[in-house]
Structures are given as structure tokens and as C-alpha cells.
């Protein structure tokens, strides 16, 4: 019975995949999409950075998938390394020079990360890069101070809230517009901070989410060292 069901499901999936693939024209020259993005991005989305416009606006649904994949990876790692006893990191304190340097650099690195994801639609970079930079700063503190702790609960709340903001921004396009993740806010004047509609909102959410996820992941991993 199970084999029959499996074959049936496979046949249905295969039929629809083949019928979709059959509608795609084969061998037709289709290289004008890049030129379209370069010419019309500022007019259509209000974002000066074309890469951000493609990642968040034109291909926003793919970005939601990527964020979900990262979330699942962090959750899986947490599930594997889960331990009921709350453990401490057993690293030694670093030397004085490293500690003073880390203390000076940590706020600057976090500020740079926040700058990168807030200005995602204006300058190079965006949510993923900014979040990764913030996680690097926290890593520097983890390695310099044994007593530096991040609250696991706060990280989980930030992560969940950022994910909810992303999905709500998508649904707002569905409610007030025509499609999921449609840019419903006014595009504004291109080149200013408050422009490009929902792109900055989504990228700030992605920045918080990626930063919290990578920080929690590093915390989990560093606590397993004996």
C-alpha cells in the first residue's frame, strides 16, 4: 500500500513538473533581465543599490526562504548540542592587550554592522552582511572575556520578532496590494535614508535575525569546548 501511494505521489509530482517545464521556451535568447534591472531599479523600487533591490524586492520570496534555511540550521545545531545543565565557557581570559583592544573595538564593530544593514538600500551590504559583522564583534568579546554572556532568551525573542516582522511585511503587500511582499509604502526620494518603501524595514529585520542567530550559534558551539 505504501509503495502504491509513493508511486502515485511521484507520478502526480512528475506530471506537473513536466507540464511546467514543457511551457518554458527552449533555446530562446533571454539575457535582457539584467539590463532591465540596471535601467529601472531606481524608478521601480526607489533603492539606489541594485543588488539590494533584487535581493529584497524582486526576489524577496527567495530571501525569506534563505532566512528560513539559516533559522533551521541554527535550530538543528541547538538541538544537537542541547544540554540541560546550563554550561559555562571554559576558555581562559585573554591577555590584557587583547582584552583592552576588544573592549575598544566591540562597540565600533556593532555600530558598523548596524550601519551596514540600516543603509542596505543606499550603500553596499545589507541584512546578512550586517548581521554577520555584529556576530563577529560578539565573537571577539566571547574570546576575550570568559565572563561575557549573552542572554539566550533575549536572542530567541529578537530572532522570532524579526522573523515575524519580515512575514508581516510580506502579508501587508498581500492585504493592501496585489501580491506577497509587494512594496506598498511610497518609494520616496531616491538616495535618502527614508526611501525605497519596505526594503529598509525588511533588511533591518533580516540584520537583527541573522545577528541573533549567528551569535546564538557561536555561543552554543563555544560552550561545548571542554
Amino acid at each position: 500500500m505504501r509503495k502504491v501511494t509513493a508511486i502515485f505521489v511521484l507520478a502526480v509530482i512528475g506530471f506537473y513538473m513536466i507540464s511546467i517545464i514543457a511551457t518554458i521556451p527552449f533555446g530562446v535568447k533571454r539575457d535582457n533581465v539584467g539590463q532591465h534591472y540596471l535601467k529601472n531599479t531606481v524608478k521601480e523600487t526607489g533603492a539606489v543599490n541594485t543588488v539590494t533591490a533584487i535581493v529584497v524586492s524582486y526576489r524577496g520570496f527567495d530571501t525569506l526562504g534563505e532566512v528560513t534555511v539559516l533559522f533551521l540550521a541554527a535550530t538543528g545545531l541547538g538541538a544537537i548540542l542541547f544540554d540541560k545543565k546550563s554550561k559555562k565557557r571554559r576558555l581562559q581570559h585573554a591577555s590584557l592587550i587583547v582584552r583592552v583592544g576588544a573592549h575598544l573595538l566591540y562597540p565600533l564593530i556593532v555600530l558598523l554592522g548596524a550601519y551596514v544593514f540600516v543603509h542596505g538600500h543606499l550603500t553596499p551590504g545589507g541584512g546578512f552582511q550586517g548581521g554577520a559583522i555584529i556576530a563577529t564583534g560578539v565573537l571577539l568579546m566571547f574570546m576575550s572575556y570568559r565572563t561575557f554572556e549573552t542572554s539566550h532568551k533575549v536572542l530567541v525573542y529578537i530572532e522570532s520578532l524579526a522573523g515575524i516582522v519580515f512575514v508581516l511585511a510580506g502579508f501587508s503587500g498581500l492585504i493592501w496590494g496585489n501580491s506577497f511582499l509587494q512594496n506598498i509604502l511610497p518609494a520616496g526620494e531616491a538616495g535618502t535614508l527614508l526611501s525605497a518603501g519596505i526594503i529598509p524595514i525588511i533588511y533591518i529585520a533580516v540584520g537583527f535575525k541573522v545577528g541573533a542567530e549567528l551569535t546564538g550559534l557561536l555561543d552554543n558551539l563555544l560552550k561545548t569546548i571542554k
Binding site: 551596514v116 553596499p124 565573537l139 558551539l221
Partner: protein, 82 residues
């Protein structure tokens, strides 16, 4: 030949030497530092090839985060390759 091209050739030589070093090295900690050096030079190359978004990602993920994950894995297993 101007100075920019000479700098690019020097960077290319550095990236190849670091790659060969990290493949042949038996001490895995040094091999990981070799891959980190590759990421540093690679992010400079991305910047020169006008892809600053990718350069930022490579600098943050390739240099810092993946290196520390490799170092943790080495710490939990063995440092020297047989």
C-alpha cells in the same frame, strides 16, 4: 605596467601560495589560517571586481565565522593529520 596591476599580480601569487599551503599542511590549525588568508585576499579581489556586497560577506563569514567553526572542530577532534 602600472602599480595597480603589479599589486593584483602580487595578490594572485599570495592567494595561490596560501591555497597550496593549506592543502599540504599537516597541522590543521595552520591549514585553517591558510584558508582564512585566502578569504582576506579573495575579499580584496571581489572589491576590485566591483562586487562590494560579496566582498563584505566574504570578509565577515569567510575570515571570521567559518574560521572559528573550523577551529572549534579541530579543538574537539585532533590537531594533526595522520
Amino acid at each position: 605596467m602600472d602599480w595597480a596591476m603589479i599589486a593584483i599580480y602580487i595578490l594572485a601569487v599570495i592567494i595561490i601560495v596560501a591555497a597550496i599551503f593549506s592543502i599540504t599542511q599537516k597541522d590543521l590549525l595552520l591549514a585553517v589560517i591558510g584558508t582564512s588568508a585566502i578569504s582576506v585576499v579573495l575579499s580584496i579581489f571581489y572589491y576590485l571586481l566591483q562586487a562590494p556586497d560579496v566582498a563584505l560577506t566574504e570578509a565577515a563569514i569567510g575570515v571570521a565565522l567559518s574560521t572559528i567553526i573550523f577551529v572549534i572542530a579541530i579543538k574537539k577532534t585532533e590537531r594533526y593529520e595522520e
